[in-house]
C-alpha cells in the first residue's frame, strides 16, 4: 500500500497548484451542499411557527422572504462551486498527459530485452487504456481521490450540523457505520484480483488485434479468414467472463452498502419520529435529519469507492511501474568521454553472449576498421543481428567489452558515438509522414545536396521523383503506394543522409538486389568515400565489395580476415562458401 501512496503523492507534486485549488473548491462545494437542508429546516420550522402562532407574525411573508435571501446567497455559492467538476476534470487530463509523456520517455530508454518481453499492443494499452477515463489512473489521481475527499468533508460538516441539532438522534443514526467498514474490507481483495485479470485480458486482445490486422495478406491468401476467428472468439469469451465476475462483485458491494445506509434512514424515521411525536424535536429538525441521512448515502458510498477504485488504479499503476522498473542495460552508459571527431577503431574484446542457456558468442575478440568494408557472414540463427546489437550498445554482452577508439563503450558518451553511425535495419521500419520527413528523420537540417546524395546512393532517387507527390508522398503503415523494396531503400537513404562515418547494414540482401547493390557500392565510393561499413549479407557476390570478412561459426566462435585468408584457414568457412558454388554448378 505504501509504495502506491508514495507514487500518488509524487504525481500530485507535479501539479501542486492545481491540487491546492482543488482542496479549496472541495471545501466550498461541501459547505454549500450541507447548507441547503439546514436552510430548509429553518423554513419549515418557521412556517409551522407561523401557522401555529398566527398572531406572532403580522407580516408572515416578510419572514419567509428573509429566509429566501439566505437561499439566494447559498445559491451563489453553488454557482462558484459549480466549476469544481470542470476543474477536477482538467486536473485529470493534466495527469493523463503527464503520465503518458513520462512513461513513453521511460520506454524510449529501454533496450531490446524489454521489447521482446512486452508486446507493442500491451505497451500501447498501458499508456492509453490504463491511464485514460474512468476508473483509470488519471481519473483516480484527480476525481477519484477528490470526490472521496469531497464526500469525507461533506460528511464531517453534516455531522457537525446534525450534532448541533440533536446529539442523541445523531448517535442513533450513526450506529450502522462501523458495520459498513468491516463488511467492506472483506470484499476488497477479491475485487482487485478480478480487476487485474480483466486488464490482462484486455491487453492480450489488443495484441492479437494488432498482429491479426498486420498479417491480413497471409490470412487471405491462405483463405483462412473463417478459421482464424477461432482464436479471437476464445479470447473475447475469456474477457467477458472476467468482466462479468467483476461487475457482479461490484454490484453486490453496492447493494450491501445501500442496505446498511438505509438502516440509518430507518433509524431516523423510527427514533426521530418518536422524538417528534413526543415533541422533543421540531418537524424541521426531523426533516433535516432525514434529508441529511438521505444525502449521506452517496458520499458514504464514495468512501469505499475510493478504496475500490484505488485498488483498481493500483493495478494500473503497477502496470505502469513495471515499465519503469524493468531493467535496461542502456543505463550502463553513464560515460561522458567524447569519442572525438573521428572513428578510428571498433574493437570487440573477449565478448561472450549467452541467451537462454545457449552460448551465442564465445570469447570474441576482433577489431573492425571503420574505414573498411567488413562483411558479416554466418548461418541462420548464429547471431549476426545480435552482434550488431552488442556493438551498438543495444544489448549488453554477458562479459567482455566494446571499445571505441580504445575507450570502453560504457565510458563513452554513447550518443556521440551513435551520431557517427548510420544504421539500416533488417525490416523497413518507417514512420507516418512523408518520404522527405522519413529520410530526414535523423538529420532534420541536412542540406539539399546531402539529401540528394543519400537518395541517389540508396538507388531510390528516380523512383521518388516519379511518385505523384514526389517526396511529399505520405507513407502509411503498410501503404501500397510505396513498395517493400522502396521502403527498404528509403531506410538506406535515412542512414546515409547524415553522412555517417560508419554504416551498419543489417542484411543488404533484404534491401537491394544484386544490381542495385553494385550501384550502391559505386555511389558509396563517390559520395561517401571515407565511410566504412559492416554489412550482413547472404549473397556471395557481396564478398567482392568487402575488404574483410567476419565469419560466425556454429559454435559461437568468430573468425576475421580476408576471403582468401579464411578460405585457407577454416574448413567450416570453406564448406559454407563452397555449398553455393557447388549448388550452382549442379545446374
Amino acid at each position: 500500500m505504501n509504495k502506491h501512496i508514495l507514487w500518488i503523492l509524487q504525481e500530485w507534486k507535479q501539479q501542486k497548484k492545481f491540487i491546492l485549488i482543488m482542496v479549496f473548491l472541495t471545501v466550498i462545494s461541501a459547505l454549500v451542499s450541507i447548507a441547503y437542508p439546514y436552510m430548509f429546516k429553518i423554513i419549515i420550522d418557521k412556517l409551522k411557527d407561523i401557522t401555529d402562532n398566527v398572531n406572532k407574525y403580522p407580516e408572515p411573508m416578510k419572514e419567509v422572504y428573509r429566509i429566501l435571501w439566505l437561499l439566494g446567497a447559498i445559491g451563489l455559492g453553488q454557482l462558484i462551486a459549480g466549476i469544481y467538476p470542470a476543474f477536477r476534470a482538467w486536473v485529470n487530463y493534466r495527469f493523463e498527459f503527464g503520465l503518458r509523456t513520462r512513461y513513453f520517455r521511460y520506454i524510449s530508454e529501454k533496450d531490446s530485452r524489454f521489447f521482446s518481453k512486452f508486446r507493442t499492443g500491451d505497451l500501447v494499452t498501458r499508456l492509453t487504456n490504463d491511464i485514460t477515463d474512468f476508473p483509470k489512473i488519471a481519473w483516480f489521481l484527480g476525481s477519484g481521490i477528490f470526490r472521496a475527499f469531497n464526500s469525507f468533508i461533506t460528511i464531517i460538516f453534516m455531522l457537525i450540523a446534525m450534532f448541533k441539532l440533536n446529539a442523541h438522534l445523531t448517535i442513533y443514526s450513526l450506529i450502522p457505520l462501523p458495520i459498513m467498514l468491516v463488511v467492506f474490507y472483506f470484499v476488497m481483495k477479491s475485487l482487485q484480483e478480478r480487476y487485474a485479470n480483466n486488464q490482462r485480458a484486455i491487453s492480450k486482445i489488443n495484441d492479437q488485434l494488432e498482429m491479426s490486422f498486420s498479417a491480413i495478406h497471409i490470412i487471405k491468401a491462405f483463405a483462412c479468414e473463417d478459421k482464424y476467428n477461432r482464436f479471437f472468439d476464445t479470447a473475447l469469451e475469456h474477457r467477458r467472463q472476467t468482466e462479468i465476475k467483476l461487475i457482479q462483485l461490484n454490484a453486490t458491494i453496492m447493494l450491501l452498502w445501500e442496505y446498511i445506509s438505509y438502516f440509518a434512514q430507518i433509524a431516523v424515521i423510527i427514533f426521530g419520529g418518536m422524538m417528534a411525536v413526543k415533541g422533543e424535536i421540531t418537524i424541521g429538525t426531523f426533516m433535516a435529519f432525514y434529508t441529511y441521512l438521505g444525502m449521506m448515502i452517496y458520499p458514504l458510498l464514495d468512501l469505499p469507492q475510493l478504496f475500490l477504485s484505488g485498488k483498481q488504479a493500483f493495478v494500473n499503476m503497477d502496470r505502469l511501474e513495471e515499465i519503469r522498473e524493468y531493467p535496461t542495460s542502456l543505463e550502463r552508459f553513464r560515460g561522458d568521454i567524447s569519442p572525438g571527431k573521428e572513428l578510428h577503431s571498433i574493437e570487440l574484446d573477449k565478448i561472450n553472449f549467452t541467451y537462454d542457456a545457449q552460448a551465442i558468442f564465445k570469447d570474441v575478440s576482433i577489431k573492425i576498421d571503420p574505414h573498411e568494408r567488413t562483411l558479416l557472414l554466418g548461418a541462420v540463427g548464429t547471431g549476426k543481428t545480435t552482434l550488431i546489437e552488442i556493438l551498438t550498445g543495444m544489448l549488453k554482452p554477458t562479459s567482455g567489452s566494446i571499445n571505441i577508439n580504445g575507450i570502453a563503450l560504457e565510458m563513452l558518451n554513447r550518443k556521440e558515438f551513435l551520431e557517427m553511425l548510420g544504421y539500416v535495419p533488417q525490416e523497413p521500419l518507417l514512420f507516418a509522414g512523408s518520404v522527405h520527413e522519413n529520410v530526414h528523420f535523423a538529420a532534420k537540417k541536412a542540406s539539399v545536396e546531402d539529401y540528394k546524395a543519400a537518395l541517389l546512393t540508396a538507388q531510390i532517387a528516380d523512383e521518388v521523383g516519379q511518385m505523384e507527390d514526389g517526396d511529399e508522398t505520405d507513407l502509411q503503415q503498410r501503404g501500397s503506394n510505396v513498395s517493400g523494396g522502396q521502403k527498404q531503400r528509403l531506410t538506406i537513404a535515412r542512414a546515409l543522409i547524415r553522412k555517417p562515418q560508419f554504416l551498419i547494414f543489417d542484411d543488404i540482401t533484404a534491401s537491394l538486389d544484386a544490381q542495385n547493390e553494385m550501384k550502391l557500392w559505386e555511389a558509396m565510393n563517390k559520395y561517401y568515400p571515407a565511410t566504412g561499413a559492416l554489412v550482413v549479407s547472404h549473397r556471395i557476390s557481396t564478398i567482392q565489395y568487402a575488404d574483410k570478412i567476419i565469419f560466425i561459426k556454429e559454435n559461437g566462435k568468430v573468425l576475421m580476415g580476408t576471403h582468401k585468408e579464411l578460405l585457407k584457414l577454416d574448413e567450416e568457412y570453406r564448406h559454407f562458401v563452397a555449398e553455393i558454388e557447388d549448388y550452382h554448378k549442379k545446374d
Binding site: 412556517l47 467477458r240 454490484a251 533484404a510 542495385n516 547493390e517
Partner: protein
C-alpha cells in the same frame, strides 16, 4: 465521414435493436425492475408527508410506527431491485458487445486487402476496443439511470397531479423548458466528443508506431524528437477535452443553480401563503421539495446520460462504419469452381492502385500448369503487384487474368486461394505458438502434418512438441529472421497448394540453409506450379520461363540461356549475382 445527431441515432438503433430483440428476456426483466425501482422511489416522500401531517400533530405513535414499517419494506425491496437491474443489464450489455466485437473483427477479416493498406492499425484497434466499451456503458449504468429517471419523472407528475393539477403543471413546465434548452446545448457539444475520440485514436496510432520502431529511434538518437511529437498530440487532446469539460460542467452548474435555488425559491414563494392560510399542508411542501431535490441529480444525470448516450451513438456509428465496409467479393454467386489444369494467363493487364498511376502496363504472359516461372527485375518494376493480383487481392482496370480460360473475377476466390500457397517478404507472426503460426489456426491441419512440413524445410528443431507449443513473441525475438522464413515456408508447404507464390522469400537466408531448402523444394514442387520473384540466381536457373520486368512492363522472357543472349540488363543482373555465371 460527417454524421449528425439523427444519423447517429438511426444507425445506432439499427445496430442495437436486433440484439435487444434477441435478448428480450433479459431486457424486459431489466425494464420491469427499473419500473419497480422508480415506483419505490416515489413512495417514501408520501410516507414522510403523512408522518408530518398526521402522526406527529396527532401524537399517534402507533400510526407512525405503522408507516415506519411501510418505509422499511419499500426501502429493502428497492435496494434489492436496484442490484438486480444492474446485474441483469450488465449481463445484457456484455453479451451484446462481446458478440459485436466478434462480429466486427470477423467482418474486418473479410474486407478487401486495400482497406488495410490505408488504415493505421492502431486506429482500428482503438475503434474495436474503446468504442465497444462505450456501447457497453450504454447498457450498464446508462440505461438504468436514463430510463429509470424518466420513469421517475413521469411518476412525479402523476403523483403531484393527483394532489393538484396546478401543482403538477407548476412542476412540469419549467423542467420541460429546462430540458429542452439543454437539448440544444448537447447538439452543439457532441461534435467535441467525437473529436476527442479521434484524438485518442491518433495517440494510440502514433504510440504503436513509435514503440514498434523504438530500436530505430534509439539507434538514430532521436528519442527527444519522438517524445516531442508524442507530447504535441497528447496535449492537443488535453486542451480539447479541458475546453469541452468546462463547457459541459459550466452549463451543468448553472442548471443546478436554477433548480436548487431559483426553482425551489419560487416553489416556496408560491406555496408559503397557501400553507399559511391553510389550503395546503406542510406535508405538501415536503413532498414538493423532496421530489425537486430528488429529481435534480437525476435530471442532471439525465442530461449527462444523454451526453453519454450521444457519445455511445457516436461510437456505434464508428463501429457501424466498419461493419458497412464492403466485404471482399469472393464471387461465390456463379460459384464457378476454379481448376488449374492448363494454364494461368495474364492478358494485356493494366493495373493501378490509385487512379491512373499505372503499376502494370499491358502485361501479358502465361503460366502453364506444372511449370516454374521466375519473375525478375529491378525493385518497383511491378513484381509484387503481379503476385498480389494472382492472389486476387485487387481487380485489374484493363485486360484480364484467366485461370484455365476463365476470368479470375468470375471464379470463387476463396476456392482459388485454397490452391495457392503464399510466401511473402515480410514475415508476419500470429499470436500464438509455432503450431498455429504454421497452420494459421486451421484445425483441419493436424499437428503431425505441421511436424512433417517443419522437418521438410529443415526447421527440425521446431518440430519437437515442446518447441511447437512455444509462444512466439511479437518481434520474434526468440527466433531469428532466417528461422521465421523457414516457418513461413513450412506454412506454404503444409497447405499443399497447386500454385506456390513466393516473393523474395529466400533472400535473407544464408546459402547453406537455402541450399537445403532448394533441395526439399524440388520435392515439393514436383507436379506443382510455381511463380517466384527471384533475387537469387539459383531459383532463376531452375525456372522453365523467366519473366524480366522493368517499369511495369515485360522487357523479355525466356529461358536463362536465351535471355543471357538477348537481354543485356538481364545479363548484367546475372553477372553481379554470380561472377562467372554469365559465361556459358
Amino acid at each position: 465521414m460527417k454524421s449528425n445527431k439523427n444519423t447517429n441515432i438511426k444507425v445506432s438503433l439499427r445496430l442495437l435493436i436486433p440484439y435487444l430483440l434477441r435478448e428480450w428476456r433479459l431486457f424486459s426483466l431489466g425494464l420491469v425492475t427499473m419500473l419497480l425501482v422508480s415506483v419505490a422511489k416515489l413512495i417514501d416522500p408520501l410516507i414522510l408527508a403523512h408522518v408530518v401531517d398526521v402522526s406527529v400533530p396527532q401524537a399517534d405513535t402507533g400510526d407512525m410506527l405503522h408507516y415506519a414499517g411501510l418505509f422499511v419494506g419499500v426501502v429493502m425491496i428497492s435496494g434489492f431491485l436496484t442490484w438486480a437491474q444492474i446485474v441483469l443489464l450488465s449481463r445484457l450489455g456484455l453479451r451484446i458487445i462481446t458478440e459485436l466485437k466478434g462480429r466486427v473483427f470477423k467482418h474486418l477479416m473479410k474486407v478487401p486487402v486495400s482497406f488495410f493498406d490505408k488504415r493505421p492499425v492502431g486506429d482500428l484497434i482503438a475503434r474495436v476496443e474503446n468504442d465497444s466499451e462505450r456501447i457497453r456503458t450504454l447498457f450498464s449504468d446508462l440505461s438504468v439511470r436514463l430510463i429509470g429517471n424518466i420513469l421517475f419523472f413521469i411518476g412525479i407528475v402523476i403523483v403531484l397531479g393527483m394532489r393538484s393539477k396546478a401543482m403538477a403543471l407548476g412542476f412540469l413546465i419549467p423542467l420541460v423548458f429546462l430540458s429542452l434548452s439543454f437539448g440544444l446545448f448537447f447538439r452543439y457539444i457532441v461534435k467535441f466528443y467525437r473529436q476527442v475520440r479521434e484524438r485518442y485514436s491518433q495517440i494510440a496510432s502514433l504510440l504503436t508506431e513509435y514503440i514498434q520502431g523504438m530500436p530505430i529511434v534509439q539507434i538514430f538518437n532521436r528519442e527527444k524528437d519522438v517524445i516531442a511529437r508524442m507530447d504535441k498530440v497528447s496535449s492537443a487532446k488535453m486542451r480539447l477535452e479541458t475546453k469541452t469539460g468546462f463547457l459541459e460542467y459550466g452549463v451543468q452548474g448553472f442548471f443546478i443553480f436554477v433548480v436548487n435555488t431559483a426553482l425551489l425559491g419560487l416553489v416556496i414563494v408560491m406555496l408559503a401563503p397557501k400553507i399559511i392560510d391553510g389550503t395546503y399542508t406542510i406535508g405538501t411542501l415536503i413532498i414538493f421539495t423532496q421530489y425537486i431535490m430528488r429529481i435534480t441529480w437525476p435530471l442532471i444525470q439525465l442530461l449527462e446520460n444523454l451526453m453519454q448516450v450521444q457519445r455511445s451513438f457516436v461510437s456505434m456509428t464508428r463501429i457501424q462504419e466498419l461493419l458497412d465496409l464492403p466485404k471482399e467479393d469472393y464471387h461465390t454467386g456463379e460459384n464457378i469452381v476454379p481448376t488449374f489444369e492448363h494454364e494461368i494467363e495474364f492478358k494485356n493487364v493494366w493495373f493501378a492502385y490509385e487512379e491512373d498511376k499505372w503499376v502494370l502496363r499491358d502485361v501479358s504472359f502465361k503460366i502453364p500448369s506444372g511449370s516454374q516461372i521466375a519473375l525478375v527485375g529491378p525493385s518497383g518494376s511491378g513484381k509484387t503487384t503481379t503476385i498480389s493480383l494472382l492472389c486476387g487481392f485487387y481487380q485489374v482496370q484493363k485486360g484480364s487474368i484467366l485461370i484455365d480460360g476463365i476470368d479470375i473475377n468470375k471464379l470463387n476466390l476463396k476456392k482459388w486461394r485454397q490452391k495457392i500457397g503464399l510466401i511473402l517478404q515480410d514475415i508476419f507472426l500470429f499470436p500464438g505458438n509455432v503450431l498455429e503460426n504454421v497452420r494459421i489456426y486451421n484445425d483441419h491441419i493436424t499437428p503431425a502434418a505441421v511436424q512433417r512440413s517443419l522437418v521438410a524445410v529443415q526447421a527440425r528443431k521446431f518440430a519437437e512438441p515442446e518447441q511447437m507449443e512455444k509462444e512466439l513473441s511479437e518481434r520474434g525475438q526468440n527466433i531469428s529472421q532466417g528461422e521465421r522464413q523457414l516457418l513461413s515456408f513450412a506454412r506454404a508447404m503444409v497447405y499443399d497448394p497447386e500454385l506456390v507464390i513466393m516473393d523474395e522469400a529466400t533472400s535473407s537466408i544464408d546459402s547453406v540453409t537455402e541450399a537445403k531448402i532448394q533441395h526439399s523444394m524440388k520435392t515439393l514442387l514436383t507436379g506443382k506450379t510455381a511463380m517466384i520473384i527471384a533475387h537469387r540466381l539459383s531459383s532463376v536457373l531452375k525456372a522453365d520461363n523467366i519473366i524480366y520486368m522493368e517499369d511495369g512492363k515485360i522487357s523479355a522472357a525466356g529461358r536463362h540461356e536465351q535471355l543471357i543472349k538477348i537481354c543485356p540488363e538481364y545479363k548484367n543482373l546475372v553477372k553481379l549475382q554470380f561472377p562467372g555465371g554469365a559465361d556459358e
